[in-house]
Amino acid sequence: MALLEVQNLTKDFGGLRANDQISFQVQEGELVGLIGPNGAGKTTLFHCISGHHPVTSGRILFSGEDITGLEAHEVARRGLARTFQVYAATGDLTVQEYVMVGAFMRTGSRAKARAKAQWILGELGLKDRAGRLLTEIPVPAQKLVTMAMAVATEPRMLLLDEVAAGLNPQEVEGVKETIRHIHRDLGVTIILIEHVMALVMDVSHRVIVLDAGRKIAEGLPQEIASDPMVIKAYLGERYGQTEA
């Protein structure tokens, strides 16, 4: 049984069809990339899966259970966590407190939540940031913190939305290691939306391509990189020549 199964998912915003009959499966233990041009409907798809948007039609099964129409917090409690692309923090929570909020999903005890947050911050190399305000730390570290918050909820599956956007190549390497660490050592199945090809083609087992709300391709990273439709829609003619 697939851990996540999306069946004919369609999402309309008024007259705009953001997701059109999308179907795919993700097995437990997989690391799947989700790519496509801006406006292809990738983030909308995440919003639908995580319960932040109601779907227009279609079904979403998580671990065999129909989670279509559940509220976002109910989806999260079933072990399906996510991060957000833009997260403008305004509050006065420290990095550790943010991660504790995630940990509080599984425990009511402050001592336990704090111990778990400290452990996760250590795992993701954020220990020295623990006492800082989220707004005070640099963007790459903020991205790691959003991942740490999600991981603190002990998810079975994690949806990562552009965690490497705007980072320099060295920082991308760091994020890549973190994603692999969460996937391999913490045993979390991952779907990641990413524009940074060096990241997504390297870490993904399998890549799904969206364009204009439709799934146009799905396959191994090397297959996707040489797929004429994908090159035309997204990667561009030069991608294959320079990088692949």
């Binding site: 932040h52 976002a72 996510r82 991060t83 957000f84 305004t90 509050g91 909020v101 509080f104 603190a152």
Partner: protein, 335 residues
Amino acid sequence: MEALRNAFDFSDSPRTDLMVVGILAALLVAFPLVPYSSFAMATMIQFLMFSIYGMGWNTIGGYGGQVDLGKAQYVGIGAYTTAVMLIRWDVPFWVSMPVGMGLAVGWSFVIGYPLFKLKGHYFAIATIATSLVLKDLFEVWDFVGAARGLHISPVKYPPPDFLRLIFREDIYYYYLLLAFFFVGILVINWFRHSRLGFQLRAIRDNEDVAKSLGINVHWAKIKTYALATAFVSAVGSFHAVYIKNIEPEDTMSLDISVLIALMAMLGGAGSLWGPIIGAGILIPLKSYLKEWLGAKAGLIGIDLILYALIIMLVSAVEPKGIWGLLDRLRRGRGR
């Protein structure tokens, strides 16, 4: 057990803060030992009452960021419950206060459910409306004395009456309220360390992120609103036995709701000491202005002008109020 430990755990506050707080607490305890005027005593009692109102408001309004401008209705529910039960059935304060809190919390669930479907300004306006509707109802409801209100006659209960809380000297009320005040600080300290407190702060920051961390945003707000209500209602009950004249206008008017929110915002919404700082500044100022300036120069309503100025100043200079300003200075120096 852990809840109790969290309530007494102030270890995340800098030691200098705790020393200042300790000294202020000692001064509050010692205040009646020095010669005082009845005006000063009345002001101090008002200060304590509004501090506790503000602490309650601060849970949902400060930590949760939901600007609630309807807290006065719960002052009214508390005050009327205690007054009605005392006058009609001679029920002591220590019974009527929890009953009032129960009624207020029940009412808060009834209106909280639809209220928290609203966000931002719509929420704030709706809280004003619910409070004013309740006030209007009480003004025509004969059972609670309608617009005439209720009067607790101290002659019927020879003071000092510790069951019904009827005293001749204000000092009794003062110490009783001071005990409430300290309990209130402990409850807020528990709250901000609790799962609910963390969840509310996450909600204020970003509701979508909060949901993705498994937080039932709607329910968390309703629960916190109920907690805030319990604070306000308890002091409302106290108001009844202390003031002894209970009218809808004195307990449930918009002025009171605004003042509660304003104090917490001025002192620092979402911080432990903010509402106390706000009350410590605004209540003496208000009393002074009313007592001298207002009567002498015919400047009735000058306090309202002052509130408006304060709101503008806080939102322009530092949305986190005086406490936020202090915190920013400290962080700036620490770096």
